[in-house]
Point group: none
DNA sequence: CTATAACCGAGACGGTACGTCTAGTCTTCTC
DNA sequence: GAGAAGACTAGACGTACCGTCTCGGTTATAG
């Protein structure tokens, strides 16, 4: 969905803003009911009360549409201040797990990631719409922990950025793998164990009660 | 692929054993060239020099076929003895990253995982053919580390199993996320940093040189 | 519809012969109900109880299909022996007019002729399937009239062929124009006047009662 | 195109007169390049430098537009005085054949005739705009022949009118059939033979040199 | 000189059919 | 009975036009 500058007033009938929202909502609805592989753009258009052409005028295909529809889900994530780094991590991971457990997220997200292995434009879209957008949570959590004195201030900015990426890959990857591949829920118990491992490492984690 | 008991030898022409291998190889070839979404069973049959009926007699559909074709790739993984737990982990993670970087693995694996969110039989097939099968690496690594004295012996068998699952989710998830979602290579430098984090936890990892 | 040699026995499932007939019948039915311009191949397929692919496997498009469907109609024409050239002409012209008055013939025939002005292959198909096929009527009528002594035997074969073409254009053209362009029925009275004109020419025809 | 009385002068901006001519010219141009079936009203509007709404305000659809665009072509026909009935007929038939040979006439005319078999309003439009309008040629030719003494004066006005219709159907039908269905040019030789047949009838025509 | 009304271009809209493609099944002949 | 070949039904694909609509703006007459 490309944003158009409000300055360059286009001639002709303007695009319907209701249609955009209706299509994205219909896409999520269809993902819930049918899943990625049985979702058809014709069906989405019908659900949205919109013609297929209207849909294709805005999105070039199923992949792009689903990325946008799923991306909105992750904007709900917030980092609640629970008083300690461990509790903050547990809180946000549980939220992330809750979103991933929703059928519209799981089916759609994995599928577009699969497609993105052969489509660089799609990969960029996923990264900018979803991944980079949510790294804010890691940044915010670290800053808060540093304020509390739980983590030292970083000295090398480049290394700091690499660390953010690494933590994001570990956290997001672990939750996704637990939920979708292993097929077990990322419930409170698991999240506690995972947080312990993340903070203390392999040696520490396995020895605590 | 359903196994048939050798006892109940059916009359008539026996199934060609070459066909099975040819079909799986053709599937991987098609995954490399076309990716999951553009792979068609008709095309796979043609590449394998086989009729579509032959293919459908053995596999019920695209998903099952691709799971079998991809599963074979991960059987290459071995855990080389490099002398320390950290080096063992680095070694096997690098191997895993190398397999994931191959186009037939990435596209196919993510796609069947996406499909498995709505198909329990498929989820079981993936788990038994791929996930559980490779947990041997974690078990073997832990046993070796315990022999070396790097890790304590576990006391509670149930907790020990849970820890294996957790580590597997963290390791596999992090590599998959790094490679396919973040879109950066899981190279030696990243693997070293990841291993440091895994062993020492957040506090330790960010302070070491 | 291409005829296949019975000698070269094709492998694989043979094409359904019932489907061919059902499609042509459905085409005529749709022409009656909808007319050329609102006839859709999807609808024809549905009426014939056949998938669209089956239809496209046999005909390359709407034009070719309609030519074949209409051509069959004109094979009903016969030249009844009524005893004199004039009566024979009247008889066959009335039959021709009756076919043209049927809605499946009128709408379809004119439309494919219109299309054939820009499609040489279609023009040839029309000529061979419809026009040349029905010139048998002119030939038979002339032979009969010569036997009766109403017409002299032709001496120059080339001129004789040209005359057949000319008569066919005049007769078919007049009936078509009367029926479809002028929009009046080619009834017995008109056919009698036309036959008089054709046999006697302008001078004679306008003076008789 | 509906004419509006100059008495009921409407307020508001008057319709552009240039637009009408531009649209009809663009229609003929598109007929030449694309033929009836590939002509689209959006394309015609673009060629005419006009919005689609402007086109639809004047014509209700493709059929009506093409009738008007084609009708103008036939107004070029004149009946030159060549001294005898036969020569007059040959002259006007050749002119008619020349117009029909133009691609914008052939494709468009046959197509609207085909459509008119299911649309009475369209049939009337064709008759009044094209057919009846050109019967003036037959009337004028007969009057001239009567003046010359080549044809007797008609006694019964009703029969005379029927004869005009008959001749028109025969002449127009034969040329159309020759040109579009048989696919051969209505050249001078053919026109001479046709005129001979028309004047002398079957018996006479085939015996003369 | 302003109001009003029909016009104009542009282009988005809901809808329908297109012709192609793939899925998964069925039917024939051959090994 | 397995297998190769290929036709079969079913249905989604993405595109193209249809005829309508909704914008901002223009050009005429009427007041």
């Amino acid at each position: 969905m490309q944003s158009r500058s409000p300055a360059t007033r286009a001639s002709g009938r303007p695009r319907s803003v209701e249609a955009d929202a209706a299509i994205l909502a219909a896409t999520r609805e269809a993902l819930v009911e049918l899943g990625w592989s049985k979702l058809t753009l014709g069906d989405v258009a019908t659900r949205a009360g919109v013609a297929k052409t209207t849909l294709y005028r805005r999105w070039s295909g199923k992949n792009e549409l689903v990325v946008d529809a799923v991306a909105e889900l992750f904007d709900e994530l917030v980092l609640p201040d629970r008083g300690s780094l461990a509790d903050d991590i547990e809180g946000v991971v549980l939220q992330f797990a809750a979103i991933l457990a929703r059928p519209e997220a799981a089916s759609g997200l994995m599928a577009v990631v699969a497609e993105s292995t052969r489509d660089d434009a799609l990969r960029d879209r996923i990264r900018s719409s979803i991944v980079e957008r949510q790294k804010r949570l890691v940044l915010e959590g670290r800053a808060r922990a540093q304020t509390r004195g739980e983590l030292p201030s970083e000295t090398d900015p480049a290394e700091a950025a690499r660390t953010v990426d690494l933590i994001f890959d570990v956290v997001a990857g672990a939750v996704v793998h637990r939920t979708l591949v292993s097929g077990h829920p990322a419930d409170e118990e698991w999240v506690r164990e995972f947080t312990t491992l993340l903070l203390g490492g392999l040696g520490a984690g396995t020895q605590e009660p």
